[in-house]
Symmetry: D3
Subunit: 253 residues, 6 copies
């Protein structure tokens, strides 16, 4: 591990650099909250749909519900994938990522403060270049925050309720040729020996840590290096989220 | 029917006006051809995926194949719809529109000139405000044209082959309070007594005429008025397609 | 287009002739209304199932509901098709035709006069020789009319209620070798350059107009010729429906 | 058990009587063999589709394959059932009966003599009044026999090959109020304490015996009484099949 | 048929011998009743899940409901079978056996005495060597009996209620080389000319008789021989069930 | 975090104790390798099915393929779950765990040394009490090792090939009331604030690290404590695997 060396990545980044991140708030005219987020060439449209009431099994609990669905457009990738609707079943990877996004958001939601309301977050990948799930989580938070402000405006949530107890973002890290790198793009992702997605809050706490040895198993020192990089990356993303949300609210009406 | 009266629609249009139409060519970094088209608040991402070879049942025919799939993002509409992938089956409306788009494109394709190649067009509605199928057909043509030019550049299609024998576009027309109107937006669509989608070529020939009495059945004179309006609208759309395609090619590489 | 020439079709008809049409009312011992209709070699069994109550989303509306399902027996065609139940999904064509039949019938139903009752029409093609959807609509109307009379007898519908405000029928037209022809049989259907299905009421108003360029796009004059032929054919079918319904009621009890 | 008493059933039959059985051979213009069979109010359309070749797993075996599919039209019964194609899955009862029909036919087929050809039998219940599976088997045999003669005419089967080594038919029997009865109609079927379907060959051998205690378990003597009745009923059915097949061949061409 | 000759089967049994039968009661720590049953190399885990209430269509009937589901682990057999959950549909054989188990159990249940409670029996084949459905029925009875005793202990069933009016078991019989044999193992099953499953009560009454000619149809004398053997085998199984249930209750708590 | 305090868990363990682990090798008479593993009350049957050849997309690669499927019996848990085969779709959790098991095993497989052969591992949970996925991975390794030895005996794998480059096992860890604990049983699992599954090799390298904040997000120090505990637990499991595999081979033949 030699991250002090002058390694330059294919797109000019150093190992510890994020790709350019942009968040277009209020992209959708219909959704209560929405964000078109890009991590370099990865573009994900995140919409938050707010409805009163909760699934039947939560009725009367006094708590709200936040869930998420992730999908990729068929030609968001380099070669076209068949639609899951056409295949008639959702693949394992899609399920796994949808569940991850939902869990990540719920980790910063005070469901009591949300009241018996439901927010469904849809994350649709319009273009993929690695890190679609981490971009989705990061953008989903912004859409969720706007949907909650919308609901406050409609008085569906009390003026002093604070359903969001922290921000949440996510970033990938991986070891390539022995070097830990932040925010892998697709060509890096396929070469990584180890691949890790780290979801963290704005306060720097872990929500999810998912590391997989794609090539060779990894040792404790390598794991520590990846975690350092991921926490730093998430701190940057949290800052971007805060500044985007500090601007005037987007288009949802 | 009083289309000479000074009727002004909710968005300021006269009965014979299209909504503002924009076509962003080459929106996708991956697809061989792509276009993000908007008819007012309706936004559809059209990508064309070009591959060598044809489905097994066409092997050796010397002919190519063009097909299309249409879908709506769950929150492209005013209230969220469940994903068809989650429901595990594609609804009748989705099937019907996918088939319509495919037939419309094939009407202007010389499959012999295309050779044994396949183009799959994906039309994903990012935001819906009426006329999603007509916007999809109009944008799909641009994506298809670019994919064919890409293939010519790659020598998958001969330099003198002309797979596209005409342009094709589509527009909706309908009768509202007795007045035929062009290019209905959602609030107009739900009020229309009669609703018609007309697909036409750049030369002004009909490819598809689909008229439905939503309220009361309609007579021959009303039908004639709608057809006049639709042919004029399609002529405008054909002109927009031509000018967009005359500009420098988009991003696909 | 030379429809004045002495063109004779394979089965001896002139271009403007319907095939022999027979309607066997009350074919089913169980259904509240039923008709076995044949357009030449095309035979469709139409049953109407009347039940009190409406789907949940219509509860309390004071209105009734009419819907339809279309299907083909596996060996109704020249070569056997796999059952959709075995494939586990309904194809696009089946969906499209089921929706067309339902819309066509609803165009002549006063749902207020029907009251909160539901009629489901099943159209099962026992033998196919072109025009299955148009035979289905034409026969479905007869089954529907009988089911409504049955319900009146049972006092589910008021004695003075008139749920059916007109009759409805359908016929196909197409251009073959430049000549517009009425009521295409299978061997004609596959050769037609343009194929159109026209649903019309007994008063001669249009309910649906669906024209598709199978071969070359068609011009306004050709469209007009097809519409003329279709209205004449539907007028004949309306007359047949009226005379069948004027006879003593069929077998449903 | 008092079957010597003058018991008269609702439709005037004695306990040992079949309902009126009619077989309309060659009902279908398309199928290689077909029969519309009725057992009283039960009407089943049986078509036999003959194709050259066998499923992949039988390739090169020198043997043929016979299989069957059973289904009921939605309104063949007293109240409408949802279509299995709409539900997206085939129910257990449908599977069970399809498998039974296939096994019953294969019991009288010499698959070597059939050669590498496949016959698919479709049995679609147009109207149901009890005994649909037994009518289906009995009619399916006739359709199969005609399909084999068709294939012999086409020289797909040798002139001296005898693929059918016997006839096969089926009938239901049941105990009602202590009396064994033959060929139960629907109102009897629901009252039967024990219900048995017996498939037998023209020579009087058993192919399938399926008895179920619907009410109370049954003893050996009762079982013997039912088997006697069933063999007699099948002997009658075999005679009807023979006389129908001895007549001039039906419509398939 | 020469069952008096000294025929010795591959595992040393005479034609009239059962395989070694073991029943491990209370195998599951969670289920209200459970049994791991083996018929030689066939091992089936049967669990009974008792819940208060009945399916909606039985509400208020005062009667209980007993149903069963059967499945095989993918590698319970000699070569691996794809999971039905992965294929997305349950095969005909699975449906058929699940229904058979449910019917067999209900034949000895007094649903009035059970009250409005539901017992679901799951029979999962861990290892298969012929006779899985008969082992499943035999083991399911033991699981059901224990679940009912558990419910009595919980006062969900009255102290004097007798929901089980008899015991029930099942065994296969078949004719191999002309000899009727009891309880076929897999290698015998594939060779049998006729195969029969007989479900009987402890009092020796028939619940189900399902005989199939796998090879040649069979005559009345052969059927009688098989029934004799099956009743004797079931009498032995009933005795084993009684002695197992007479021992101290198993593990469910 | 006070793991030096004399904390005693409900089943008498200290925070750093595994539950009793037993591995019954060769449980299945049919599978090429098998193991019935228990972690306390959690029992998983793991079978390894070895077949020659690989999926089509790997043909000619010279490499083998190892994959896994996980499922739970419906009553393996405290309350019955519907079968996924009955629901017709596999849930997200099942997909996720199946994929995890497959990846974990492949991390210790040299696919070149395996040759073009496939091993499918089925892990069926017979009884669940927390940690089913970690027990499954640990048992699956034993089944895989035996299947590979079986294949070596059959000469499907060369005598000097070493397809397994390390052992692999897995264990859960979690923080309960601030204390990190090893190998959570069900009642602990539902109380854990943080839940982590760690897959590691016999050499102590990480294969997968999956940590989730169920309650509150966790900090770096807590993560470190959990990783320490998990590596120690996996070292114990590796030792158990080695001693089980050192004994005489199991039942597969």
């Amino acid at each position: 591990m030699t991250d002090q060396s002058p390694i330059v990545r294919a797109d000019g980044r150093t190992p510890a650099d994020l790709r350019p991140v942009t968040i277009e708030r209020g992209w959708s005219a219909h959704a209560e909250g929405s964000a078109l987020i890009s991590f370099g060439g990865t573009k994900v449209l995140c919409t938050a749909s707010f409805t009163n009431g909760v699934p039947r099994w939560m009725n009367g609990s006094g708590k709200g519900w936040v869930t998420a669905e992730y999908a990729m457009l068929p030609r968001s990738t380099n070669t076209r994938n068949d639609r899951e609707a056409v295949k008639g079943r959702i693949g394992g990877r899609t399920h796994e990522i949808s569940r991850l996004i939902g869990r990540s958001l719920r980790a910063v939601v005070d469901t009591k403060a949300l009241g018996e309301n439901t927010v469904v977050i849809d994350c649709d990948v319009l273009q993929a270049d690695g890190g679609t799930r981490t971009a989705a989580i990061t953008g989903a938070y912004v859409a969720l925050a706007d949907a909650i402000e919308w609901a406050r405006g409609k008085k569906f949530i009390g003026q002093r309720s604070v359903p969001l107890i922290d921000t949440v973002s996510a970033v990938s890290v991986g070891i390539i040729d022995g070097t830990p790198m932040l925010d892998l793009m697709y060509t890096e992702d396929v070469r990584a020996e180890t691949d890790m997605n780290v979801v963290a809050t704005g306060r720097g706490l872990f929500v999810e840590v998912q590391g997989t040895a794609e090539g060779a198993p990894f040792d404790r020192r390598e794991l520590d290096g990846l975690l350092d990089l991921a926490l730093a990356g998430n701190a940057e993303l949290a800052e971007i989220q805060r500044s985007v949300l500090a601007a005037a609210a987007g288009a949802a009406e």
